[in-house]
Amino acid sequence: MGWLIVAGLLVGWGTRLGSGCTSGHGVCGLGRLAPRSLVAVLAFMTAGVFTASLLRHWLGVPT
């Protein structure tokens, strides 16, 4: 529950600051070939893979 709230706060803050999410930058931004969206997708995919592969395990987040 606690992790869910931390995750929600990060997603909310990040979506606002970065002007988009998986749908906005991922599906629509890449679809319209926007360079900003390609950068955003690379950044959030890297951070997402890092978190799910390493950080989650280090922190012991329950699945």
Partner: protein, 149 residues
Amino acid sequence: MKHQAQEAFSGLLAGLLFGIGLALGGMVDPGEVIGFLDWSGVWNPALVGVLGGAVAVSLVGFQLAPRRLRPWFKPAFPELPNKAIDRPLIVGAVLFGLGWGLAGYCPGPALAGLGLGNGEAPVFLAAMVAGGLLQSWWAKRGAAASDGA
């Protein structure tokens, strides 16, 4: 009034299609998303097809629409912004990715999860809205401070 109703209807239709796609594709299942992002064990590549397929379809739409098509309920398609790549974009995307990889939820699927009766979805969404509000409060606070300086 007529146009507003038509726009609301097309929004409803698009949202319905989007939600069905997210549910069918498995994006609404955070376990599936974590399996896709977790490369430490056995990688689950299922979402590559979902995300890749979605981009392929939107690519056709975005390339075709402005050249060959007209919107149903508006005189023209909106002008889309093309801003420079800046720091907020990258910092925001990294923070987004941290949250996404932590719980396996992003905004669209979390909203669609509400419709599926997923009990985690309301908690995540409440925190997400709070995160967005906190960011705009923080940005205003920063702007006010630099005005005063």
